[in-house]
Symmetry: C2
Subunit: 321 residues, 2 copies
């Protein structure tokens, strides 16, 4: 058994190489660029952890892990185009550096290469893993579309937001764990619980993400703090604030979301604090965390084997970047 | 054995249905939209023909054919975004109708669904077909990138253009035929020759495409005639004209490519005609056609089985739309 940190190092050693052909460089260099920006590699490491929860790590787990990390980076490149985001991990986004057409295409080729890595798996695992992967990839696209749709509707409920986030973020973490579990040779019941663990953990993860976007330390966070506020994103915090703020604060929030004063971020944060959305977000995060932990408990292996996943869970929801 | 037309009808009946879930409609309706615009369905029918060259059509051939047609439409959606093309098959392009972010995402989800259809194949064919498909998909992306790169370099040689077109257009036709051949159960040698047949035919096809863009009948063509000229594309015709025109005509061509007079298309076409690029293009097309036919001859099956592919070849290079 390995800890989360150990598996991260093992994965990084395998992953820290050029994954793309040298030619056509104008296409593949932009694809390689985003991989070099780093990242927490949570999803691929989750594949390894899902595998090791049940058995020794299978060689196929590394292929699947790389495939899933490439998929994740494909989605980042395309999301950044759609969101017109200039910065990712403290550096220029792919489209900001190389132009939108090339970034679009670099994302496409990265998605194809994700499938190329999955196709390195032994035939016994291939069809089942591909099915899960395809369903997940569709869900991620649906989630991104809903996220964009939400920009154009006035009120988004907490339930709608959780549904969108589940698709856009959680299912990929859940599927990463389940792919590992499949490769670890376990049955449907354990696969179900590890998937659900990942799904609830993913929502808690997003709560932390939304929290950090508003209340994070700018030096640690890597992204623009208040970016969601400037983009008028209906995050967990904003949805809650719009629900519980008094009439005056609600009106101000709505006004701020339709304008761009220079002190917009500070004023929205003031209202967030008045409404105690920060402590509310922490409580909601604990709730999802508890459900996640219930599903982990239900996985029929010894307690000891679950320790690295618990470690991962606490890392994800207590991180400051 | 079926003719090209018969197989087109058989495929169209299977394909003419909604391929996407009803929800999330804002994502899947734009994806369905482009499929309803029609098209010649050359690639999926080529899968069926490649199969039937060797054996009865396998059920998997329909899954593969649909997968390849979805892939082709994914590439059209994204190419149209990159090229800022307003019209496709006489109708608004996906991004013109639904906006770029949604079109980008609809393309992504269509690529995922292409893999979903491929994954319906029986396990015995899956890994080999996926490998060919992935290599082809990467090549198509590389070809599109080279096409964009060519916009920013002054001189593109005929050799460079043929290389780009091979990647962007030919290999998908070649791979469609080879996928069919794999499903038809033939060996490597026949697979090689049917692939090469498709590759040369694909180049002849592009020659016809470039020809029609300049000299086609606007009512039949469906796209804007002269679109390549207005976009300053270095097509077969333009590359040849820049090579053989006299100094005065060359200077005028270069001037026209850097400006946008209202009579640009007419003036470029005049120079094309002066340089006889129309008859040159026809001859070059015949040359590629002859090589394609050589490879078809080399396929070790009876002459009679090859007739539908010959029919396809002549259809493709003599079409007027």
């Amino acid at each position: 058994m390995h800890s989360f940190i150990e598996l991260s190092k093992i994965f990084e050693e395998k992953f820290n190489t050029r994954h793309f052909p040298l030619h056509t460089a104008t296409l593949y260099n932009p694809a390689q660029y985003i991989l070099q920006l780093g990242g927490k590699r949570i999803r691929p490491v989750s594949v390894l952890m899902g595998n090791e929860l049940f058995d020794e790590i299978h060689e196929d787990a590394y292929h699947a892990a790389i495939g899933i990390e490439l998929f994740h980076n494909f989605s980042l490149i395309h999301d950044d185009i759609m969101d017109k985001a200039p910065v990712r991990r403290g550096m220029a986004t792919v489209h900001a550096k190389y132009g939108e057409p090339t970034a679009l295409l670099a994302g496409d080729v990265m998605l194809v290469m994700a499938y190329e890595y999955l196709n390195k798996m032994k035939i016994g695992h291939l069809q089942k893993v591909l099915q899960l992967f395809n369903n997940t990839a569709k869900a991620v696209c649906e989630g991104q579309q809903l996220d964009m749709d939400f920009e154009n509707i006035e009120t988004v409920t907490l339930e709608q937001y959780v549904h969108m986030i589940t698709l856009k973020t959680s299912v990929l973490l859940a599927a990463s764990l389940q792919v590992g579990a499949i490769l670890g040779g376990t049955g449907e019941r354990n696969q179900h619980h590890i998937y659900e663990f990942g799904k609830d953990l993913g929502i808690a993860f997003q709560l932390q993400d939304d929290y950090l976007d508003a209340f994070g330390d700018p030096e640690k966070f890597g992204k623009q703090v208040g970016g969601d506020i400037l983009a008028n994103k209906k995050t967990f915090l904003m949805i809650r604030a719009l629900e519980v703020a008094d009439a005056k604060a609600q009106k101000e929030l709505q006004h701020l979301m339709m304008s761009n004063p220079t002190d917009k971020v500070a004023r929205v944060l003031d209202i967030f604090r008045q409404c105690n959305v920060d402590s509310w977000a922490k409580q909601l995060k604990e709730k999802y965390m508890a459900t996640a932990m219930y599903h982990l408990e239900e996985v029929a292996v010894t307690e000891k084997r679950k320790l690295p996943l618990k470690e991962l869970a606490y890392f994800l929801i207590e991180r400051d970047k």
